[in-house]
């Protein structure tokens, strides 16, 4: 992962697919080069031009299976395919300049067509908008438009089953945090000393809705419909009204954005905070801590794709 754009040297490019200053695509550890060794069968120099091993046929590498964005002490993000899913349908955007940061996490809706494309397009559209200093709400609207436009691009299956995804985005400027979301990807605020943890987002999901209407929380979360989302980005989503707020920061803490691949294993906010703080305190740097959290979810079963972004904030 490059720390700056190789074209214009803008340092905010870390973790982003495109440079925010000049818009050029950045190398993101893409498909292995032709003629490299195959990791599956061990043959030497057998990876072909289309990315498959000429001996055993296995795909040499899918760039999105595991991606890390390392912006040093400012922020870090990791996304991982997990175990159950055959591809990573989560996508992320992390761009920093000085202590400013733009963070986006999107999770493709598996039942839609090409959810991996939806999440990638949404993260990129929102990220690019934030880089141009759009508000979080405006950035999410950009993402919504980009995902809705997918139905008229290419594959006719997309028109039948609209590509769709969730989004959670945050914008950090001079210690001030604004955030917004659609769907069930979350943002948390965790005080560094562990004295305070807050789930900033409220899932647009059946379970959250049912609990708000007075259902028993345990019963609601055990319902098969629990994770069905009630708002998303996509051509069939109707008018997207992102929710969001500004976070007043008074004590040093961590802003955590993540997809349900992580929080599903840590549904209690206290347990979530403990896991995050343990990861931060036992690892040498932020990106290692983010990787440790993804690993925790993988080892717990890896039932979904996992994305987690960590951004320390000081008032």
């Amino acid at each position: 992962m490059s720390d700056s754009c190789p074209v214009c040297a803008d340092e905010r490019a870390a973790g982003a697919a495109f440079c925010e200053s000049c818009g050029r695509p950045l190398a993101t550890g893409a498909t292995k080069a032709v003629g490299t060794d195959c990791a599956s069968c061990g043959s030497t120099g057998t990876v072909g031009a289309d990315g498959y091993c000429e001996n055993c046929g296995m795909l040499a590498g899918r760039p999105r299976d595991h991606v890390e964005a390392d912006a040093g002490t400012v922020a870090a993000a990791v996304t991982d395919r997990g175990i159950r899913h055959h591809r990573n349908e989560d996508a992320m955007w992390l761009a920093v300049r000085g202590t400013e940061a733009d963070i986006v996490v999107c999770d493709g809706v598996s039942s839609s067509a090409d959810p991996d494309v939806a999440s990638e397009v949404a993260a990129e559209a929102a990220g690019k908008a934030l880089a141009l200093d759009a508000t979080v709400e405006a950035a999410i609207s950009e993402a919504a438009r980009a995902v809705a436009d997918l139905i008229s691009a290419g594959d006719p299956r997309r028109a039948v089953s609209n590509p769709a995804c969730t989004i959670v985005a945050a914008r950090v400027r001079d210690g001030e945090v604004t955030y917004g979301w659609v769907g069930d990807s979350r943002a948390y605020w965790i005080a560094l000393d562990g004295s305070h943890v807050e789930q900033l987002t409220e899932d647009d999901s059946w379970a959250t809705h049912a609990i708000a209407m007075g259902a028993d929380p345990q019963a609601a979360w055990n319902d098969p419909k629990a994770h069905a989302i009630t708002a998303w980005l996509g051509a069939d989503a109707g008018i997207v009204r992102p929710r969001g707020a500004t976070l007043p920061v008074t004590t040093p803490g961590l802003l955590v954005l993540c997809s349900d691949g992580l929080w599903n294993y840590l549904t209690e906010p206290a347990a979530f905070a403990n896991a995050v703080l343990a990861a931060v305190h036992t690892n040498p740097d932020l990106v290692s801590a983010a990787r440790a959290l993804a690993t925790l979810a993988v080892e717990a079963g890896g039932a979904d794709n996992i994305t987690v972004a960590l951004t320390p904030i000081t008032p």
């Binding site: 498959y52 046929g57 296995m58 899918r62 175990i83 159950r84 899913h85 591809r87």
Partner: protein, 421 residues
Amino acid sequence: MGYTAETFQNEFLALGATEVNAIVTVTSSGAEGGLRTAGASEIIIVDCSGSMQAEGRMQAARQAAKAAVGCIDDGVHFAIIAGVSTAQQLYPAPGQLAVSAPETRAQAVTAIDRLQANGGTAIGAWLKLAGQLLAQRPGDIQHAILLTDGENGEYKGYLESVLTEIGGSFTCDCRGVGTNWTVSELRKVANAMLGTVDIVARPEDLSASFTQMMTSAMGKTSADVQLKVWTPVNATVRFVKQVEPQVADLSGKRVQDGPRAGRYPLGSWGAEARDYHVCVDVPPGAAGDEMLAARVSVVEGENVLSQALVRAVWTEDSALSTRINRQVAHYTGQAELADAIQAGIEARKNGDDHTATMKFGRAAQLAHESGNKATEELLATVVDIEDAVTGTVRLRRKVEAADEMALDTRSTKTVRVGRAQ
């Protein structure tokens, strides 16, 4: 040359699954400007056995051969073979090919008037002579038309040995006139020679049939197109079948090309589309593994014209692995339809009415389900279809030989699946 190859499949496999199926559609827009990239040569073989005197067949065959000659483009090399107990070259001089022009075509027409019916049927010898004549024109788009009205009279095994020797070296479309010829015999020739087989029950329809075959042959722009199928180590190709416009199993025609690939001959191509069903057995993968199960290339010599990938992705998500791909399901059904009809005809011949009823019933069901109206109508000439949905049929007491032979020859004709997913 505009070739495209496109894959239709459900690439998702359940854990432990090892069979990968895909339909590969190959489409060619023909050569630029519709011009042939190679020369072309044509042989017309007309059965002149004694039986051709009946029902005015010889007269009709002469007219048909003349009509076909009239369709040969200028510059194409051609010859006419009179099929008797041996093969006799009718036009031009023995061992020669004429170059098509108004004068040579007029000479050929005069020669055709000399065709007389007397002698036997020696399909092996006829094809062998055609092969020898065409061998003078390597690299040409080579095509022959074979007309016969009877069973082959050569000693057992001779025709097979000729087909092994010359199979695939040129395309041969076979037509049987009347009802005294054997469908399985002509089908064997057509399969080996990558051509078509059909019945022309009424001699008066011969001219139209010859004109159609020759026009289609003149529309071919590439001589020798092949499907090259690469598979990874420890994977094996179970079969490669053409499934549209008609079913033809190409598996036996595989020629090994390097340790992991084989070539299957597709014959000559014009502006057309054909579908192929590729089935590969692969070693099982782990959840999330993605394997290239086959790389299917359309090639002419060493020139790769287009390529399609057949993939395998193993998943624990049964919603993905149990999805049925429409193309694969449709053509699997069309291949089963052809098999059911041929088995039904065979059983009826052997007096096994029970098996015949069962097979025709299944065929009626498959033809109905897939919207193959032409085959359903042909079936209805051999059995009474009481309920196509459940496959309930009754054998007819009296079946016209021509109807049964038409059903048999056209059983492999398929219909294209709708493109919408």
